[in-house]
C-alpha cells in the first residue's frame, strides 16, 4: 500500500518599500507592489489551481485529498487584495478532503531566536486558521521546514499537534528512506513526516526542464514511480510550494494538465490512495527514531540555514531584529509590535543571500531588490527607524512603567540567550 500525501506551502511575504536613511515615516510596506504581486499570483496560481483541486475532489468523490499550510501574512493579503482567492480556499476547506497545517503566522525564523515569540506566532496562526477555515491544525510545519531535535519539545509545549513535517534530507536518513512515518528522539507523542524530495522536486523544479532526461513528465510515468514505492514504504510525501502550479511552472508547461490527470493515474493502481497528513499518522505507526542534531531545512542543495544565515549581513540583521524584542514589546504599542513581526518574515533575509548571487538563479527570481546588499541596506534602515520609534513610544509611557520595563529588559535578555540555545544547532 502506498499513500500519496500532498502538502502545499502557500506564502507571499509583505515586501518593504524603498526606505533610505533619510526616511522617518512609520510606513514601511510597499503596498503597491504587494498588491500587484498578490493579484498576479492569485490569477496565475491560486485561482486556477484551487478551481482544479475542487474539480478533482468532486470528481474522485473524496478519494483525492490534499493539505495546505497558508501563512498569516498571505491570508491578510488575500483578504485585502484577492478576496476571491480566499473564498476558493474556504470552499476547499468545506470539502472535508483538505487539511490545513499550522506554522508561524509570519513565516518567521523565530524558532531559532526566541521561544516566546515563536509560541505566540504559532498560536496566532492557529487562531486565524480556525477563524477562516473552521479547522484546528494538528500537524506542524516550521518555516522552510527548518527542523532539529530542539523543535519537538517546544511544539509539545504549545500542545495540540500530532506530528511535524520536515525535509527528508539524505544525511539525516542515512540508509533509511523518507517513505515511512518516523518519530523524534525523547519522550514525545509527536511523529515525523519527511518530504520525499526526489519525487517532490520532479514536479516542483524539474517538470519543465527540457534538459532533464525524463522530460516530458506525464501523469502515468509519475504514477508508476509512486507505485514503485510499494514494498519499501508506506507513504510518499509530496511537499512543495503551491506556486509551483502556474507561477514557478507556467501554465504553458502543461503543469495543470499534469495535475488534472495525476489522481486517476495514481488511483488506477488498486494499492494506492491519497491521505492527508493526519490520516497518514493515524494509519501508519512510526518505524524508527530520527536524530537531527543539526538544523535542516528544505532550501537549496545544502538543505540547511545558509539561505537565511549564510553571511554576516544576514546574521547581523537577524541578531539586531531579535535584540529589539523586549524593547518592542515594552512599548505595548500594537502598531510597533505588528510591524516588528512583519520584519521577521524569512524572505527579508533570503533577499540578502549572497550564496549564488553572481551565478543568478532562483534567489534572483524571487528577489525584488537589485542586489543582496540593497536588501540589507533597506532592511537595516527600516529597523533603525523602528528602534527610534520604540524609544519615542517608551518615553511617552508613564515613567513608572518605563522603569519597570527597563528592569524587565535586562532580565529577559538573558532568558533570550537560553531560548536561542535550546533550539539552535550544536556548534
Amino acid at each position: 500500500m502506498a499513500s500519496v500525501c500532498f502538502y502545499f506551502q502557500v506564502h507571499q511575504p509583505q515586501r518593504l518599500r524603498h526606505y533610505t536613511v533619510f526616511d522617518h515615516s512609520d510606513n514601511y510596506l510597499d503596498d503597491y507592489k504587494n498588491a500587484e504581486i498578490c493579484r498576479k499570483v492569485a490569477n496565475k496560481c491560486y485561482l486556477p489551481a484551487n478551481k482544479l483541486m475542487l474539480e478533482l475532489i468532486h470528481k474522485h468523490r473524496g478519494k483525492f485529498k490534499i493539505s495546505y499550510s497558508i501563512t498569516g501574512v498571505l491570508l491578510e493579503q488575500l483578504e485585502k487584495f484577492a478576496p476571491e482567492a480566499l473564498i476558493t480556499f474556504k470552499q476547499l476547506a468545506g470539502t472535508g478532503c483538505v487539511e490545513f497545517l499550522g506554522e508561524t503566522y509570519h513565516h518567521s525564523l523565530a524558532s531559532l531566536y526566541s521561544k516566546d515569540e515563536f509560541i505566540e506566532q504559532v498560536k496566532a496562526h492557529r487562531r486565524i486558521i480556525r477563524q477562516l477555515f473552521g479547522q484546528t491544525p494538528r500537524i506542524f510545519r516550521n518555516t522552510e521546514l527548518i527542523y532539529n531535535n530542539g523543535l519537538p519539545p517546544i511544539v509539545d509545549q504549545i500542545g495540540g499537534f500530532d506530528a511535524i513535517i520536515a525535509e527528508g534530507a539524505d544525511h539525516i536518513l542515512g540508509y533509511r528512506n523518507a517513505n515511512f512515518v518516523y518519530r523524534p528522539p525523547g519522550p514525545t507523542r509527536l511523529k515525523l513526516l519527511l518530504k520525499n524530495y526526489r519525487l517532490s522536486d520532479d514536479i516542483a523544479f524539474r517538470f519543465s526542464n527540457r534538459d532533464w532526461s525524463e522530460w516530458p513528465l506525464t501523469a502515468d510515468k509519475f504514477a508508476a514511480w509512486i507505485n514503485a514505492v510499494n514494498g519499501c514504504g508506506n507513504v510518499v510525501n509530496l511537499f512543495m510550494d503551491y506556486e509551483t502550479f502556474g507561477e514557478h511552472q507556467w501554465e504553458d508547461t502543461g503543469i495543470f494538465n499534469f495535475l488534472r490527470h495525476l489522481p486517476q493515474a495514481i488511483l488506477r493502481y488498486p494499492d494506492n490512495n491519497f491521505k492527508t497528513p493526519s490520516e497518514v499518522i493515524r494509519t501508519y505507526p512510526p518505524v524508527d527514531t530520527i536524530d537531527v542534531p543539526y538544523t535542516i531545512s528544505w532550501a537549496d542543495i545544502e538543505r540547511d540555514l545558509s539561505a537565511w544565515r549564510g553571511n554576516s549581513m544576514q546574521e547581523n540583521a537577524l541578531a539586531e531584529l531579535y535584540r529589539l524584542e523586549d524593547k518592542v514589546k515594552n512599548t505595548e504599542n500594537p502598531g510597533i509590535i505588528d510591524i516588528w513581526r512583519r520584519l521577521q518574515t524569512s524572505d527579508h533575509f533570503y533577499y540578502m543571500c549572497t550564496k549564488w548571487f553572481a551565478d543568478g538563479d532562483v534567489h534572483k527570481y524571487f528577489n525584488h531588490y537589485n542586489s543582496p546588499y540593497d536588501a540589507y541596506i533597506n532592511f537595516m534602515n527600516v529597523l533603525d527607524n523602528l528602534d527610534r520609534s520604540c524609544s519615542e513610544a517608551i518615553l511617552k509611557k508613564p515613567s513608572r512603567i518605563y522603569e519597570l520595563s527597563a528592569e524587565r529588559q535586562s532580565k529577559t535578555s538573558n532568558d533570550n540567550v537560553a531560548n536561542s540555545l535550546c533550539f539552535s544547532e550544536r556548534t
Binding site: 533610505t20 536613511v21 533619510f22 553571511n311 554576516s312 549581513m313 546574521e315 547581523n316 549572497t354 548571487f357 553572481a358 537589485n370 542586489s371 546588499y373 540593497d374 540589507y376 541596506i377 537595516m380 534602515n381
Partner: protein
C-alpha cells in the same frame, strides 16, 4: 600573427582607463604570442618596464621593452606634447591643472575650450600622427591594424588602406560619453569614419555598443564587446597611518563633467548630516577642479573634502588602502576600470549605473549618478555597517579576479582571426 597598433597613451604616463587598458591588453597579447607594433606620440614617456631606446635622433623612435617579448614600440615625435602636465596618475610631478593639458583632457573638455582651439590644434596633431604612422607602417609587415579611440582612427584608416590590411577600431569612449549632448561635430565625424572603415568594432561594454549602434549607424553584428580587466598587482608596500580617526570615501579620477564630481559633493553634504567622522578625498584633477573646490567651500564642507591633485603610483595604492569606500559617480562611463581596481584592492565600490562595468559586476553597490539621496544612503550604509563593508570587499575582490586580461586578449585574437579570414576571402573574389 602580427598587429599594428595605434594608441595615444601608455604607462607610466596615463590619464585614464585607455593607457591602463592598452597596457594590460598588449601584455596579455604578448603572452599569447601575438606580435605587436605599438605606435605612440612622443611625450608619453618611455613605455613601462626596462626599455631600450633605439635611435633617438630619428623621427621614428623605436624602443623595445624587456617586459614584452613580442612587442615593439614606435614613438612618433610631435610638436604638440600631448601629456605635458596633467592627466597622469603616475606622473612624476604634482603638476597643477593649469600648467598644461593633455590631448585627452582637451578632448574631454571639448566645448569648454572653444571649438576653434579644439579643432585647430588637435586635428593637426591627429593628421600628423596619421602621416607618420603611414611611414612606419610602410616599412612594417603585419596582418591587422588596431586603433584605440578616435585620435588614432584616421591613422588606422590610412594605414589599413595603404597596406591593404583589415582595420579593427577599439572604442574606449565615444564623443557622447565625453561631451554629453554637446557633441563636437569634427570629432564625431572622425569616430564615425573610423567605425565604418573598420571590419570590426570592439566596444568595452554593451553600454558603449549601444551608443555605437544607435548614434554611429554601425550594424550590431559588427560590434564585439570585449571587457577590460584588472591586473592583480599585490598589496605593494605603502605606509598608512596605523589608526585613522576618520572614515574615508574616495573619488579617484579626472575632475571633469563626465566623472560627475558635483554629484559626489552633493551626496557628501548629505552624508555629513548623518555621519560626522568621515572625510571625502578627491584624487585627480581636471578642468572642473577650481569649480569643484569652490563648490565644496560654498557648501560649507570644505574642511571635509580633501583635494590631492594627481597621485603617483604608490600614492594611488595608499589612497585605495585608506579608503572605506570607493565611489565612481560618473555621468557616462564606457567601462570604468578604476572600479575594478578598487574591488581588486578590497575596497567596497559604489558605482553609477551609467557605467559599462555596472552591467557585468554584481558585488558592488549601484546608483543612478543623479540620485543624490540614494548615493548618500548607500555611502552611509557602508560607513555605518561593518558587515556590509566586509561582504562587499570580500566578494568584490573575488569577482574582480574573474576579469583577466588573458581572456580579453583571447577575444581580441579571435576577432583578428575573423577579420583576417574575411579579408582573405574578399581578395579571392
Amino acid at each position: 600573427m602580427k598587429t599594428f597598433m595605434l594608441g595615444w597613451e601608455f604607462p607610466p604616463q596615463i590619464s585614464g582607463g585607455l593607457g591602463t587598458a592598452c597596457y594590460g591588453l598588449t601584455k596579455a597579447m604578448d603572452k599569447l604570442g601575438i606580435k605587436v607594433t605599438f605606435v605612440l606620440p612622443r611625450g608619453t614617456g618611455n613605455p613601462v618596464g626596462s626599455v631600450r631606446t633605439i635611435g633617438t635622433n630619428d623621427p621614428r623612435t623605436v624602443t623595445q621593452s624587456e617586459q614584452f617579448t613580442n612587442m615593439k614600440f614606435h614613438v612618433i615625435s610631435s610638436n604638440l606634447r600631448p601629456y605635458a602636465g596633467v592627466g597622469s596618475h603616475r606622473h612624476e610631478n604634482f603638476n597643477t591643472y593649469e600648467s598644461g593639458r593633455s590631448l585627452l583632457e582637451i578632448a574631454d573638455a571639448g566645448v569648454a575650450l572653444g571649438p576653434d582651439n579644439y579643432t585647430g590644434n588637435i586635428l593637426d596633431a591627429v593628421n600628423q600622427y596619421a602621416e607618420k604612422a603611414m611611414i612606419i607602417a610602410g616599412a612594417e609587415n603585419f596582418d591587422v591594424v588596431h586603433a584605440h579611440d578616435w585620435m588614432t582612427y584616421p591613422a588606422g584608416e590610412a594605414v589599413s588602406r595603404q597596406n591593404h590590411k583589415p582595420l579593427v577600431v577599439h572604442v574606449h569612449s565615444t564623443e557622447f560619453d565625453r561631451s554629453g549632448e554637446h557633441v563636437n561635430q569634427a570629432v564625431y565625424d572622425i569616430e564615425r569614419m573610423g567605425m565604418h572603415a573598420a571590419s570590426k568594432v570592439i566596444a568595452v561594454s554593451n553600454l558603449t555598443k549601444e551608443t555605437i549602434v544607435k548614434h554611429y549607424g554601425i550594424p550590431s553584428a559588427k560590434v564585439e564587446v570585449v571587457y577590460n580587466a584588472v591586473e592583480h598587482n599585490g598589496d605593494g608596500i605603502c605606509h598608512i597611518p596605523a589608526e585613522k580617526k576618520d572614515k574615508i570615501v574616495l573619488f579617484l579620477g579626472r575632475i571633469t563633467m563626465q566623472k560627475g564630481p558635483e554629484y559626489f559633493l552633493a551626496a557628501a553634504k548629505k552624508v555629513l548630516q548623518v555621519v560626522d567622522n568621515v572625510k571625502f578625498i578627491m584624487a585627480g584633477s581636471g578642468d572642473m577642479m577650481p569649480k569643484i573646490i569652490e563648490l565644496a567651500a560654498s557648501m560649507g564642507i570644505g574642511n571635509k573634502v580633501l583635494f590631492t591633485g594627481f597621485l603617483t603610483g604608490e600614492d594611488v595604492n595608499r589612497a585605495y588602502k585608506m579608503a572605506d569606500l570607493y565611489v565612481m559617480p560618473s555621468v557616462s562611463e564606457p567601462f570604468g576600470i578604476s572600479s575594478l581596481e578598487a574591488m581588486n584592492r578590497n575596497v567596497p565600490v559604489l558605482m553609477s549605473k551609467q557605467s559599462g562595468i555596472a552591467e557585468v559586476v554584481t558585488h558592488a553597490l549601484k546608483v543612478d549618478f543623479w540620485d543624490i539621496d540614494e548615493m548618500a544612503n548607500k555611502m552611509i550604509a557602508v560607513l555605518k555597517r561593518p558587515q556590509l563593508k566586509t561582504n562587499l570587499s570580500k566578494n568584490g575582490f573575488h569577482e574582480s579576479c574573474k576579469f583577466k586580461w588573458e581572456d580579453s586578449a583571447m577575444k581580441v585574437k579571435n576577432i583578428y582571426e575573423e577579420v583576417i579570414e574575411q579579408a582573405k576571402s574578399k581578395e579571392k573574389k
